[in-house]
Amino acid sequence: MFLAASTREQFASKSANLDLRGIFELAIHGLLLACAAVSIVTTVGIVFVLLFESVQFFREVSVWEFLTGTRWSPLLKPQHFGIMPLFCGTLLVAGGSALIAIPLGLATAIYLSEYASPLVREIVKPILEILAGIPSVVYGYLAVVFVSPLIRDTIPSADLFNAANACVVVGIMILPMVVSLSEDVLQSVPRSLREGAYALGATKLDVTLGVILPAAMSGIMAACLLAIARAVGETMAVTLAAGATPNLTLNPFEGIQTMTAYIVQVSQGDTPAGTLEYRTLFAVGLALFVSTFVLNVFSRWILLRVEEKYE
């Protein structure tokens, strides 16, 4: 009898504990949710502001004119609101830097993954990480004082600020990204595939080019797209290196302006808030956001498909 009562008391006190613990758990849950909500709310907020201000802009300038116009001079009279020159500038820098970073980065990744001894890998990988850690403004500065004179020595007709300049430094900037992402993809090709190929009397080059690269191809493509998205969004280095002249050209030795560089120019200038000139910021920002977003989604989609393949 006595025993039974004391047991019941114990249970009662336990259930009180349980209540307390339940509240605590709930509080923790809520706190963590709130933290997670910050990033979501921020994202939604940014997209909302971009859209809201852009809609204001497109009340005065037609979407058609914005997308197809070949002149961009919102700050000068007569005003022109064709984003093509900026888009073209971004494309030129992204394409040019990809042309530098992808072959070089892929070759480096193949070397590190397939050829290098563990010792070399241990040395090279941290160096690449340092390269990735250099602030982009430093790259921009190097472009102006080092790369630009070099280019103008070779091609005297080149502008002081030019797209090629930006391509070189942005290419070097995104190089570590191409290398480390591609190397991860190459490493994730199952060892059994390598062994299978070697067991058939394949040489290292046969295995690398004939089996590993094809198996890793979609992952490498995704890595390259992510790197290009990074180049599209790159701001500081291109602002310093490529100049501030919106220019519809594919000649890399002329001065250009990218979408990001234009945003910098307007943000630091004295354009009054609420004006049409001011709203171009958001329209260009939206265009930039859509471009990188599409690239990112596309590359994630490719990566997902790769993961499925090696279940």
Partner: protein
């Protein structure tokens, strides 16, 4: 059915002709799928030695995995390597085509002679060696390419470019691996769409395409269902007429069914080797007897 029954039932009556280099055709006239066709001790002795290993020691870093393994592998016979996990049988198998070279920090000493030539001597062309000594792995590992390209891979890296020649090789190897009828209409489909058993037979076809003398099989059926396993075992019977086969297996019934000679490994030592029927019915060593009767392992 007990293990000993399987073995005794299939006393070798056939294949007294030990010099048989030709006949895949003859193998197919045999009623395959029934008990076994193991060669007798005399027949094994009559075969020339394809691979001879002498006092092979093998180390992963400082850990010794093989101790003085001396083993003769007769031509046109199936040699089964059995033993508990970690006994060194796979390591030994991978020594025979120098697959262990790819693992950092391994060392080997002793001699492994293929047709009388030491494959570890200086200046050995490992690429050439691996063309002569093909390998099938435990987990089927088709390349993410078409069925055709999987089989054609070996010949291609060996420099064969002519389409007609490749077609001929692919068909022959897929027929030898008993896969042709199932895939002949979809040679350009991805190999990854095949079932597990089909993938493994594809890997066998791929190994055969380099025209090896020796086929190493590392637990080729361990991940397969009984029907696919039976198909692979049947295949091994046929293939030994053309190739010399060394197979690692965990499955003692399988060793008893498919092999002519069995080698029992334990903790890196080769404990006993002999004619399969004799080893299973009348083992000389206590450890072998304990293992095959299931007392440990």
């Amino acid at each position: 059915m007990s293990l000993s029954e399987i073995v005794i039932d299939g006393r070798p009556k056939r294949m007294s002709d030990t010099s048989s280099r030709k006949p895949l055709a003859r193998a197919s006239t045999l009623s395959l799928g029934q008990s076994n066709f193991s060669r007798s001790a005399d027949e094994i002795a009559g075969q020339s030695k394809k691979i001879v290993t002498r006092e092979v020691d093998f180390f992963y870093e400082a850990k010794q995995a093989l101790y003085k393994v001396t083993l003769d592998i007769p031509e046109h016979c199936v040699t089964a390597l059995i033993g508990p996990s970690g006994c060194g049988k796979s390591t030994f198998l991978r020594c025979l085509n120098r697959m262990n070279d790819m693992i950092e920090g391994t060392t080997i000493s002793g001699e492994i002679l293929l047709d009388g030539t030491d494959i570890y001597r200086r200046g050995t062309d490992v690429v050439e060696l691996r063309k002569r000594v093909g390998m099938v792995f435990q987990k089927s590992n088709p390349f993410p390419k078409s069925i055709f390209e999987n089989v054609a891979y070996g010949p291609r890296v060996a420099g064969i470019r002519k389409r007609s020649e490749l077609n001929e090789i692919v068909e022959r190897c897929l027929r030898q691996s008993a896969l042709w009828d199932e895939v002949q209409d979809r040679l350009n489909d991805s190999a990854l769409q095949l079932s597990g058993g089909q993938q493994q037979r594809l890997c066998i076809a791929r190994a055969l395409a380099t025209a090896p003398d020796v086929l190493l099989m590392d637990e080729p059926a361990s991940a397969l269902d009984p029907k696919s396993t039976a198909a692979i075992e049947e295949l091994i019977f046929k293939l030994k007429e053309i190739y010399t086969i060394v197979i690692v297996t965990h499955n003692m019934q399988q060793a008893a069914r498919v092999s002519d000679q069995t080698a029992f490994f334990y903790e890196g030592h080769l404990i006993e080797v002999g004619n399969t029927n004799e080893l299973f019915t009348n083992p000389k060593e206590k450890q072998t007897e304990d293992y095959i009767t299931g007392r440990f392992g």
